[in-house]
């Protein structure tokens, strides 16, 4: 038998351990298009329930936007469903080249290359571009896909404390003899919602002749006055050597991603990046629809302006109510409860009050840093946010959480 009993038991044991340590994840089944209100079935088999969705990356409300759906229908008719080929054989249509060029215009870069996902883009970039003579210096809170990407590279690596510029300087000084140095950070950090200090990072990079890589997955489309990303927000457009981003969040939310930056680096990725060479091309429907999304965003800042106002309101409402909220300027607003058990209970009770937000605790975030992460969308109406705020306050009052300090929350017995 191909799957002997001992092996089956081994995997059953691993799964059992995951359950016992409280880390077992269960998917919530959604019977709807993505949006501000969704019908959710959870736990599996229960009756569906309409919830306010506070946990999607649908920041601009484009995932089910009528204009976007219409563009996708047209794309199907225009360029078909699939291409059944990698880019280099017969998987490059006119629209792929067009999207790459529009991305470069939108992000203010020299060139861009498409990938099936931003995870793939991050998995490709460090292995392809860096050899043993290089050092990667990354923020300690970068996304898992960057960590995996760095693991694939032969370059040496080191880290600096989250957004700590003094520490980054020490590390650049320590490694100044390396031929190639690259500073690696997220633009907006997905668990904290804070924006990396890119102006200071660029300044240090210039002083030490280092490259800068930014993953802007949680920023492209809405951070910055024109939504170009965290580099626009920090006024360093044109100074970031490599930007990776996803089409799977604000830009319609289907899937796909890219690396955008210095022409020679993009050219080399096109020749050598393994996820680009050995994986299927981006589907025409996503390619054309992402083009449409960029077109909408370049033509009007209405969606990002609305998101900015709503996110600021939401952040302020939670602070006024007495919650501890991580400071920031993005629509990711983490409500700090520190206490892992309390966080789980809080999320469950929100769910009962028809608000869908997810609790995160170790190992996804550091120990004693458990939180409910909330994400605002331009699709939320004022009533949606008022409803969600009231639910947060009711649950917090029930457990006497408001106005409590970190130490008090950590010591709460749940």
């Amino acid at each position: 038998m191909a799957f002997p009993e001992v092996l089956r038991r081994k995997y059953q044991d691993i799964l059992q351990q995951i359950r016992q340590s409280g880390l077992h994840k269960q998917e919530r089944i959604i019977h709807d298009k993505q949006g501000a209100r969704i019908a959710v079935e959870y736990p599996f088999g229960s009756a569906g329930k309409e919830l306010i969705n506070m946990c999607s990356n649908n920041y601009l409300g484009l995932s089910s936007h009528p204009q976007v759906i219409k563009a996708a229908h047209q794309a199907l008719d225009h360029r078909g469903y699939g291409l059944s080929s990698v880019r280099f054989i017969c998987g490059t249509q006119d629209i792929h080249k067009e999207l790459e060029s529009h991305l470069s215009d939108f992000l203010g870069t020299e060139d861009s290359i498409l990938f099936s996902s931003c995870f793939d883009a991050n998995a490709a970039v460090f292995e392809t571009l860096l050899d043993e003579s290089a050092i990667m210096i990354s923020d300690r809170l970068v996304h898992a896909s960057i960590i995996d990407g760095m693991r694939l590279s032969r370059a040496a690596h080191d880290t600096y404390k989250h957004s700590d510029m003094q520490h980054l300087r020490q590390k650049l000084e320590l490694h100044k003899d390396k031929e190639t140095k690259i500073i690696i950070t997220d633009g907006v950090f997905s668990m904290d919602g804070d924006i990396a200090p890119l102006a200071e990072i660029v300044e240090l990079a210039e002083e030490y002749q280092a490259l800068v890589f930014v993953d802007d997955s949680h920023a492209t489309g809405f951070i910055g006055a024109k939504g170009r990303g965290s580099h626009e927000h920090c006024q360093v457009m044109g100074k970031i050597d490599l930007i990776s981003t996803t089409f799977g969040k604000a830009l319609g939310g289907a899937s796909g991603g890219c690396i955008s930056g210095r022409k020679e680096l993009i050219d080399l990725l096109r020749q050598r990046a393994r996820p680009y060479l050995f994986s299927n091309t981006l589907a025409p429907i996503i390619t054309m629809t992402t083009l449409k999304v960029l077109d909408i965003l370049a033509g009007s800042t209405q969606a990002r302006d609305s998101l900015e106002r709503k996110a600021a309101w939401w952040r302020q409402a939670l602070i006024q109510a007495g919650f501890i909220v991580v400071a920031g300027e993005s629509p990711i607003v983490p409500v700090m409860l520190y206490n892992a058990k309390l966080t789980q209970l809080f999320a469950d009770e929100l769910y009962k009050k028809k608000v869908f937000a997810v609790g995160f605790f170790f190992p996804v975030v550091p120990q004693a840093q458990a939180r409910i992460r909330t994400q605002v969308s331009a699709a939320h109406s004022e009533e949606d946010l008022l409803f969600a705020r009231d639910a947060f306050i009711e649950v917090a009052q029930k457990h006497d959480i408001l106005g409590k300090t970190k130490a008090e929350l950590l010591n709460m017995q749940v």
Binding site: R140, M150, H157, D158, T159, A368
Partner: protein, 76 residues
């Protein structure tokens, strides 16, 4: 050596000033030191104590606490 290591780790890795660590605190398995940050520990040991610990010896099992680190450093 123990104190020097603890001081370095507090300075280099602790983001949360309220967290207290001693020679038996689990560091790697508890996520205080992540695997990518081990190089900076390795290069500190080399600079401070003049000993280069080979990377394969620096694992979550054998290098998890300062007490274990001291034992391994003394073998070199």
């Amino acid at each position: 050596m123990e104190e020097k290591l603890l001081d370095f780790i507090r300075d280099e890795f602790l983001e949360d000033p309220e967290l207290e660590i001693d020679a038996d605190t689990r560091l790697i398995s508890a996520g205080i030191i992540d695997s990518f940050s081990l190089v900076s520990l390795q290069s500190y040991i080399e600079r401070e104590f003049g000993k280069r610990i080979p990377a394969p010896r620096i694992t979550a099992e054998s290098f998890d606490t300062v007490r274990q680190m001291v034992q391994i450093i003394q073998q070199f």
